[in-house]
């Protein structure tokens, strides 16, 4: 074990990923997170737009926030100290697509089969979301 290694093992502050930390990045990520989540909540609570256009707007916020957080909080890159974080993300993305995608497909099919408008009382009234 080299000296530098030994030092890094005993002093947590000497870890390269800790050395990357910057107050500016953390604060801006925090402000972004609170701001975007707050706007999303506000839009949902006040019914500022119709339910159908609300979902893409909130989804866009969420995706933007995901990217911003992974860059600003986690500092994702392919350097030696951060490679495993990036590998984890690579693993998570397919799982995310799989679980969300299959769920959407399942609910779409379910909605088509059991919420048919011919059946009285089964259609999803726009008013029920209000």
């Amino acid at each position: 074990m080299t000296d530098a290694h030994h030092h890094a093992a005993t002093d947590p502050l000497a870890h390269p990923e800790v050395q990357q930390a910057s107050a500016a990045a953390y604060i801006s990520a925090y402000v972004l997170t609170v701001g975007l989540l707050g706007v999303g909540l506000f839009m949902t609570e006040r019914h500022l737009v119709t339910p159908h256009s609300l979902i893409p707007v909130i989804a866009a916020f969420a995706i933007f926030l995901l990217v911003a957080q992974s860059l600003l909080f986690l500092g994702l890159d392919v350097s030696h100290s951060n490679i495993w974080k990036t590998v984890s993300l690579m693993l998570t993305v397919p799982l995310f697509i799989l679980s969300i995608g299959l769920t959407v497909w399942m609910f779409h099919s379910l909605d088509h089969l059991v919420m048919s408008p011919e059946m009285p009382g089964m259609s999803l009234q726009p008013g029920t979301l209000q």
Binding site: T10, L91, L95, T103, S109, L110, L113
Partner: protein, 689 residues
């Protein structure tokens, strides 16, 4: 913003009133007395031998991965015992409540348990067995064995390891509290929706279930991070990926599942909590809610969770069969590939838990095919085990007996699983006890592997073997019980008995129900032999002491160091030369070569913080369950403050000098797990207090 609740509420005690203590229920009074007697039986010797300080210092505050593992396993075994009593009560209720002329005892019309009480029992049976028995035992085994198998000193984050343990304990304690204060959920371990919503379950039962799962699942997630980091970053020199023992591989894959799946459970429960506490409508029947979304989220976690449990069991079997066949594992590479194939497919099968929801033929076909695909890597594993045994020099020690029987259970459970994966069959037997018998075969395969592992690694950790005579009887009666109960249950499933019945309407089921009850008697006898095994082994521990390799034919690195394993694991970090390092060293005559020089060893300090966090998280859970806001708020703030303070406290650990190490090794006075660990370091002691 908070949901308005009917019934009394006070700022100091929340919803809790004296009427919530079920002191009029004879079954619960008996359970309470039993718990008190067991508690006294444990407390008296501890106080008599003045071991309170030792237990606090050496166990509760320990960050040693082996002690944490042992505590995980003790927690799991205690919860398994309670879950077993629940199972026994379920079977006894059903056999006494079959047909309109069945008698009623106590306050029940049929059998001895009224419906609401029976529902709580099957809910706690499932929750305890899956989340608080099998889960913690496997986590504990991973904790003990993985660092030893890869030649590490401890886990990557020792203190976080202890925090994981105490979070699991506090979840289990919440379920124990629900037995005597208030009630437990009646909605099954899966949380049947919309029954878990506030209008249908207004009591605290669902809250107990929800917070117990939530708190312990945070512990599981932290533990998954810890194990993955340990395996990636802490391997001894020469421990390349292609030399990693198979149990470590399965633990790695299982914890990848744990890390990715458990947050989904957290989200599902948090949204349910928002419905129950804040009046949102995520999972309600109307008002824009979607109750199937809960079922979907639950099983996106729930199915990977099943493989989270079964993969380490496969790893255990893959370690034990080569040891007692005196042959290397057949098809190491395919075994690893099969493990990760199962872990991968685990993410695309969850919908088979609700084929009957009506998602349509295409969706059902996709999930049906995906589910059947699991059979391929599992089949690879079964053939690998059989080919490992083929022309091997087999010794039928108890761990081997458990492992071989586990393969049989896997076959029965797996083949019935393939049947259930077919939507056409699934529509017919959905919610029947056929399904219950199927998944009990799978979970019992895990239990078989657990017992194999406990007997196999016990001498490594404690330095003496468990008594073979009584452990073989424990095995025989457990297998008899399993076969008797679940063969009858498969048949009852085909005869149309549905699950979770407190009253059975068909008197023709009675003969098979009696067969199931006979199986429960076998189980009871086996539990007796289990306790006898512990008693005899501890009594005769002097005679059964063993060396580094208690079995003589073990193959992996953990059997290189002393038994019991000293607190520093290895005197010198071993250099790994081959897959099955110990077998390689034995073959090349290096098994007993003492190291020529020692190096300073850096060890972590004990800490009080994890156990305090555990107590506080119980306080948080209890406060949230009863809506005692001051208690929940105080506990949460204190946890956050402790974590922040703890991370600012300098914790350099301590170092064992080469001279100390040489002395301990030469005199064989390296203390085992039961002794006081290292001569106390003044600085470490000071920091503890």
């Amino acid at each position: 913003m908070l949901v308005h609740l009917q019934g009394p509420w006070s700022p100091w005690f929340g919803r809790l009133t004296l009427g919530d203590i079920p002191y009029t229920n004879p079954v619960i009074i008996f359970a309470f007395l039993f718990t008190v007697v067991a508690g006294i039986a444990l407390a008296v010797p501890v106080l008599y031998y003045r071991k309170l300080g030792y237990i606090f210092r050496e166990w509760l505050c320990s960050v040693d991965h082996k002690k944490i593992g042992v505590m995980y396993i003790i927690l799991g075994l205690v919860m398994m015992f309670r879950g077993f009593i629940d199972g026994m009560m379920i079977r006894t209720q059903q056999v006494t409540a079959d047909g309109p002329h069945s008698p009623g005892f106590l306050s029940a019309q049929h059998g001895y348990l009224p419906p609401a009480h029976f529902d709580q029992i099957y809910s706690s049976h499932g929750t305890l067995m899956i989340i608080f028995a099998v889960g913690p035992i496997l986590t504990g085994l991973g904790n003990i064995i993985v660092p030893l198998q890869i030649g590490a000193r401890d886990m990557a984050f020792p203190r976080m390891n202890a925090i994981s343990l105490w979070l699991s304990v506090s979840g289990a304690m919440l379920i124990m509290a629900s037995l005597f204060i208030g009630d437990f959920s009646t909605a099954g371990w899966v949380g049947l929706i919309p029954l878990t919503e506030l209008p249908y379950s207004p009591s605290v039962g669902v809250d107990y279930w929800m917070w117990a799962l939530q708190i312990s699942s945070i512990g599981t997630t932290l533990n998954a991070i810890n194990i993955i980091t340990t395996i990636i970053a802490m391997r001894a020199p020469g421990m390349r990926w292609d030399r990693l023992p198979i149990f470590t591989w399965t633990t790695l894959s299982t914890n990848i599942i744990g890390l990715t799946a458990f947050p989904i459970l957290g989200v599902a429960l948090a949204l349910l909590g928002a419905d129950r506490y804040l009046g949102t409508h995520f999972f309600t029947g109307g008002q824009g809610g979607n109750l199937m979304l809960y079922t979907d989220l639950f099983w996106i976690w729930g199915h990977p969770e099943v493989y989270f449990l079964v993969l380490p069991a496969f790893g255990i079997i893959s370690e034990i069969i080569p040891t007692f066949s005196e042959k290397p594992l057949f098809g190491y590479t395919t075994m690893v590939a099969a493990t990760f194939a199962i872990a991968g497919v685990a993410w695309a099968v969850w919908l088979h838990h609700f084929f009957t929801m009506g998602a349509g033929p295409w969706v059902n076909t996709f999930f049906s095919v995906a589910t059947m695909l699991v059979g391929i890597p599992t089949g690879v594993k079964v053939f690998n085990w059989i080919l490992t045994m083929y022309r091997g020099r087999i010794t039928y020690t108890t761990p081997m007996l458990w492992s071989v029987s586990a393969i049989l259970m896997l076959l029965i459970g797996g083949l019935t699983g393939i049947m259930l994966a077919n939507p056409a069959i699934n529509y017919t037997v959905h919610n029947s006890v056929f399904v219950i018998a199927h998944f009990h075969c799978m979970v019992l395969l895990i239990a078989f592997a657990i017992f194999a592992a406990i007997i196999y690694w016990f001498p490594k950790v404690f330095g003496f073997r468990l008594d073979e005579h009584s452990s073989k009887r424990f095995f025989i009666f457990f297998v008899l019980g399993t076969v008797t109960v679940f063969t009858a249950m498969f048949a009852l499933g085909f005869m149309g008995e549905t699950r979770r019945l407190d009253y059975l309407y068909d008197p023709q089921w009675l003969p098979l129900l009696i067969v199931e009850e006979i199986g429960i008697v076998f189980y009871c006898i086996s539990v007796g032999y289990f306790f006898r095994m512990l008693y005899v082994s501890i009594r005769d521990r002097g005679r059964n002491q063993c060396g580094a390799d208690p079995w003589g034919t073990a193959r992996t690195l953990e059997f290189l160091t002393h038994s019991p394993v000293p607190f520093y694991n290895f005197a010198v970090t071993p250099h790994v030369n081959a897959l099955d390092e110990l077998a390689w060293r034995r073959a090349n005559g290096h098994a007993d070569t003492p190291p020529d020089h020692y190096e300073p060893v850096h060890m972590p300090n004990s800490s009080m913080i994890p156990v305090i966090i555990g107590v506080l998280s119980f306080g948080f859970g209890f406060g949230m369950v009863w809506r005692i806001w001051w208690m929940a708020g105080f506990s949460l703030l204190a946890i956050i403050a402790l974590i922040i303070l703890g991370s600012f406290m300098p914790d350099p650990g301590y170092t064992i000098s080469p001279e100390e190490m040489r002395e301990m090794e030469a005199q064989h006075r390296a203390p085992g797990i039961m002794a006081d660990s290292h001569p106390p370091h003044p600085a470490a002691e000071e920091r503890l207090v």
